[in-house]
């Protein structure tokens, strides 16, 4: 029966099941949801970076056509602030500064886009018309947007109760050992850089619909979220005080997140609260401009890194000082990004024995900054991989050989770094070699000469990187300040006739989970992918879950499913033993057996298909009632034992036009170790997408504030997103070492592209500019910047 079916299990490039609905316009996104009697919300946002609100006069606005209600913070009494999910402690052990993040501004606005009031009307347009009629009396105050500037003595204060705008001053590693390493070093290399601020720009803007059932008291929030259970927890418990049993959060089809849809946002609380207050559903959908000024931004670090090397190029010590911009308020996971997702990654793929990093997080009058694809790890990778290139150049080492010399040996795993992490597996030499070969590294000088013959500057850049994902062991992150656990939940529901519904706490918003997860079930239980359906994104259906970010869905969510399937097989065996009158120990299960998923009495031809077992479980006429309950459904909570550690090698080749300074990416090679590959096509797509975002950061994207705190790059007209013709063919290959601590051996592939690629691109740009004696070009490496270098000007 199974022999004629195409192989759809682990390792097959099964076409994405979800694409039929997405590509034919039949996805159901939050903005497609319309509830009977729905009203529309429009949010009045601050045009000032910093101002005192003297008064908000809604008299005229309230009388405008269609207006249902106008609310300010004065109306939302008894409502908590938006909570932060991670608490960092200062060097001295005291907790970080955690100023209140009100849902609607209380007395002051602190960034352009800060919500001040909400207008609810019959139509969106009427709500906006009325919003424009609200009369604000505000007193503009001086603002500070720059990371370093905010720490300067005279900088305006973002929060009156946070002196000097310092959120925390944190450190990790062994300072004394690191200082000692520098004292005996033959070479001391210093590199300073700013990691540019980015706007995530998911294709679908955020949207939220609140609904309230006056008969049951149940609240429902439909929201563009990567983690509906987390939103239920944060909003229910901390902001609106609604018990979980009365709050359902649904995140249906979501059009991209990249981190920006992890967090609990004010608008979610506003529509949920207003729907109950008004007794009618309330919808809010952001436009693109609002997205620019209210979605959490990414990156924005100012760093200084120092590397100590001995005379042969062996790394002895690494010292890092980073200032990280938090924006005006602490977004949900913001404090952990420049600490535990960043500084712990500073060992990279190298066996540097001593590392010490200090991180200061600062408040500024800007949109909150939080995790964005890669979150902390791109910042660490960029710093380290640029530093290694700078070191190679300064000290006269070959940049590939310098890396190779310092790699953690393949035999050294598990490897304990000086910055808390213990890597389980990896093979950096193989990914390096494979990438060098694919990119024809050896033939580069000939290509460079060919470009030169056409008057162009050609450069090649490499990055050998590692990241930590599959987050995360709950006990570990708890000890580091996380206010939540980071396990995942999977339920396997085998229906009476053998088809399967999987409930998962992970959330798919572009990743293809409906396919990949079905492949896991196909592989383990022998059920065709078409008969496996994945349900996610609804707290009313899925038992619990922590959602999708940090490349955790397969490593943690998939492992939970795997554990649940173990239980299904175990129970199935007992039912099979009963039906075939054999002992449980003698029952074997083979997903690729003659009946598909097949239970067999070992050494005999007596078999039962999984569907026969499930039928017996739900129609239990002949069933071991004494020892088992009917039904065939199992749930597992999986808490990972460690992070997973994907890594690899990225190589970029660029050509620069001397006359204009324009950089053209010519080709890009990625050889990644993402652990076991479930669907090679999806992995390739994930890596390509990540590389596109990494190239975007390296060459194009830049979120710019002016000195008064206005957001200059507030639309696609000024914020340069990468387009297809900015990119080049991305060659994606994988080289697998298995994760040693999760049952699937998987590591994760969602972020590697965005983590490994920016330094590869900038290293290539700097290489192309060899003859001009520069050792660095800040991201994004725009044409005018490069033109200034080539033409020796400072413009």
């Amino acid at each position: 029966m199974n022999a004629v079916l195409p192989f759809e299990g682990i390792g097959a490039s099964v076409k994405r099941k979800e694409d039929l609905r997405f590509l034919s316009g039949r996805g159901q996104y939050v903005d497609d949801i319309n509830r009977p009697g729905q009203a529309h919300a429009w949010i009045l946002r601050s045009q000032y970076a910093h101002a005192r609100i003297n008064s908000i006069d809604t008299t005229a606005a309230s009388k405008m056509p269609g207006v249902v209600a106008i609310y300010t913070s004065a109306d939302m009494t008894g409502i908590g602030g938006i909570p932060c999910g991670w608490q960092i402690h200062n060097k001295d052990g005291t907790p970080m500064a955690e100023p209140k993040h009100p849902v609607l501004a209380e007395g002051k606005v602190r960034h352009v886009g800060d919500p001040i009031a909400v207008v609810i009307a019959e139509t969106r347009s009427q709500a906006r018309d009325a919003g424009e009629a609200i009369v604000l009396d505000v007193e503009p105050l001086p603002a500070v947007t720059g990371t370093t500037a905010a720490l300067a003595g005279a900088a305006p204060c973002v929060h009156d109760d946070v002196a000097g705008n310092l959120c925390y001053d944190w450190h990790i590693g062994d300072k004394a050992a690191t200082d000692a390493a520098f004292a005996k070093a033959a070479h001391h290399v210093v590199f300073e850089t700013t990691n540019n601020r980015l706007v995530p720009n998911a294709m679908e803007p955020r949207s939220a619909v609140g609904d309230y059932d006056t008969t049951t008291g149940e609240h429902t929030l439909f929201t563009t979220s990567q983690n509906p259970h987390v939103i239920r927890l944060l909003m229910g418990a901390f902001v609106l005080q609604i018990p979980e049993s009365k709050l359902r959060v649904v995140a249906p089809d979501v059009g991209g997140g990249f981190g920006s849809k992890i967090y609990h946002y004010a608008e979610e609380a506003i529509v949920t609260w207003a729907a109950a207050k008004l007794g009618r559903p309330v919808k809010w959908t952001a436009d693109r401009t609002e997205a620019f000024m209210s979605d959490a931004h990414g990156r924005d670090h100012v760093s200084r890194a120092e590397l100590a090397l001995d005379k042969d190029g062996t790394f002895l010590g690494l010292r890092v000082h980073t200032q990280a911009n938090m924006g005006a308020y602490l977004s949900t996971f913001a404090p952990c990004v420049p600490t535990y997702l960043y500084a712990t990654l500073l060992a990279g793929v190298y066996s540097t024995p001593a590392i010490y990093a200090e991180v200061q997080a600062v408040f500024t009058h800007t949109v909150p900054v939080d995790a964005y694809r890669g979150a902390g790890r791109p910042e660490a990778t960029y710093l380290l991989e640029r530093l290694v290139d700078v070191a190679a150049r300064q000290c006269g080492f070959d940049k590939v050989e310098l890396r190779r010399r310092n790699f953690i040996a393949t035999s050294a795993f598990p490897y304990q770094t000086p910055v808390a992490l213990e890597y389980d597996s990896g093979d950096y030499v193989s990914t390096l070699n494979q990438a060098l070969e694919t990119a024809d590294w050896a033939g580069f000088e000939a290509r460079r000469a060919e470009s030169a013959s056409r008057g162009k500057l050609r450069g090649i850049g490499i990055s050998t990187y590692l990241e930590a994902c599959g987050i995360a062991p709950s006990a570990v992150v708890g000890s580091l300040g996380a206010r939540a656990g980071l396990y995942e939940v999977g339920t396997i529901r085998v229906h009476p006739t053998g088809s399967i519904t999987v409930l998962t706490g992970a959330h798919s918003h572009g990743q293809g989970h409906e396919t990949t997860f079905a492949q896991l079930v196909c592989d383990k239980l022998g059920v065709p992918v078409a008969q496996v359906d994945i349900v996610h994104g609804d707290t009313g259906k899925v038992p619990f879950g922590m959602g999708t970010y940090g490349s955790r869905s397969l490593a943690v969510g998939g492992s939970a499913m795997d554990k649940a399937m173990d239980k299904i097989i175990a129970k199935g065996k007992r039912i099979a033993a009963h039906l075939m009158e054999a002992s449980v120990e003698d029952i074997e299960f083979d997903p690729r057996g003659e009946k598909g998923g097949t239970f067999r009495v070992a050494g005999t031809d007596r078999t039962k298909a999984l569907a026969e077992i499930s039928l017996a479980a739900y129609v239990p006429h002949n069933f071991p009632h004494d020892e088992l309950e009917p039904g065939l459904e199992e749930t597992a909570f999986y808490d990972p034992k460690n992070f997973t550690y994907p890594g690899g090698c990225h190589i970029a080749e660029v050509e620069i036009e001397r006359e204009t300074g324009q950089v053209h990416l010519l080709n890009f090679t990625a050889v990644d170790d993402v652990g076991r590959v479930v669907n090679p096509m999806i992995v390739e797509g994930q890596v390509q997408g990540g590389v596109a975002q990494g190239v975007g950061q390296a060459l194009l994207e830049n979120c710019v504030y002016d000195s008064s705190g206005q957001l200059i790059s507030a639309s696609m007209m000024d914020y340069a997103m990468p387009r297809a013709d900015d990119l080049a063919p991305v060659s994606v290959a994988t080289h697998t070492t298995l994760c040693t601590h999760n049952p699937l051996g998987v590591k994760g592939c969602g972020e590697v592209g965005a983590i490994g690629s920016p330094p590869a691109v900038i290293n290539a740009v700097v290489d192309a500019l060899r003859e001009f004696g520069v050792n660095h070009v800040e991201m994004p490496a725009t044409a005018p910047k490069i033109w200034s270098i080539i033409h020796g000007s400072t413009h």
């Binding site: 194009l700 200059i712 790059s713 387009r723 900015d726 725009t782 044409a783 005018p784």
Partner: protein
């Protein structure tokens, strides 16, 4: 978008009458500029007067040494017209690189030229070829048409009906695109023909302008090298997060050089 009324007249006379009676009404052609402005609530017209029903504003025809292109001609039509490709290939090529496919399928010559966005393409061709703008009231030489940023000689109730392009001996266009908007950072349209030697620069300044020194240099010798030595004064050039005035001034020379090279 604020509410407005919508009308679709079928003649130039009817359309201009509407605007004469109501100065807060607004023409719409392809809507590729006006619609985004309306959506952002940057514009609040009482009435939107849709020009696309007016037959006399359509069509591409050759009249002796002149190519006459109706204001409603879409970018894609200019791009693919055999008539344009034969007479002024640089113009067809320019049209092929305006915005993206969707924009080219709706945006019009008349809309672009009457809008006179400093970063738009067509104004450079109109000025660089020394074309004549035919309106509902008169004919305006290109040199008198583009008055400043988003400002032209058109009066409120005056319609751009067609543009008469003299067919040049040689013409070429080169531009560098803004990495974000993909509009023009700096561009140059050069031509040699009945209107003499002309160099029009777009993108770099607040309004398309003629580069006299480059015209003089090309009159001496029609070659990329001739313009390569002419430096644009950065004073008055646009400077923003995408490039300083100095950078744009530098690009003017580079683009002029490339335009001449492409013109042969």
């Amino acid at each position: 978008m604020y509410d407005f009324t919508y009308t679709k007249p079928s003649s130039v006379a009817d359309a201009t009458k509407l605007l004469a009676a109501d100065p807060d009404a607004k023409f719409i052609s392809g809507g590729q500029t006006l619609l985004p402005a309306l959506k952002h609530r940057l514009n609040k017209p009482t009435t939107v007067v849709d020009l696309t029903g007016i037959g006399e504003m359509r069509g591409i025809r050759r009249e002796g040494n002149t190519l006459v292109i109706g204001a409603l001609t879409k970018h894609v039509e200019v791009e693919t017209s055999a008539e344009v490709k034969a007479a002024i290939p640089a113009l067809a090529q320019m049209a092929a690189h305006i915005g993206d496919t969707q924009v080219r399928n709706r945006g019009t010559l008349g809309g672009s030229v009457s809008n006179n966005d400093p970063a738009a393409d067509y104004p450079a061709a109109v000025l660089g070829l020394g074309a004549t703008v035919v309106t509902s009231k008169r004919e305006i030489p290109a040199d008198e048409f583009f008055l400043g940023m988003f400002t032209t000689a058109l009066e409120t109730d005056e319609l751009l009906v067609a543009i008469k392009f003299p067919i040049p001996e040689k013409a070429g266009y080169a531009k560098m695109r803004n990495p974000a908007s993909r509009y023009v950072m700096a561009g140059a349209f050069v031509s040699k023909g009945p209107q003499g030697i002309r160099v029009a620069i777009n993108g770099a300044g607040p309004c398309v302008f003629r580069q006299g020194e480059m015209e003089a240099a090309l009159a001496g010798s029609w070659s990329p090298e001739a313009v390569a030595g002419v430096k644009q004064n950065p004073e008055g050039m646009n400077g923003d997060i995408h490039g300083s005035a100095e950078y744009r001034a530098h690009l003017v020379t580079v683009m002029a050089k490339r335009a001449v090279a492409s013109a042969g």
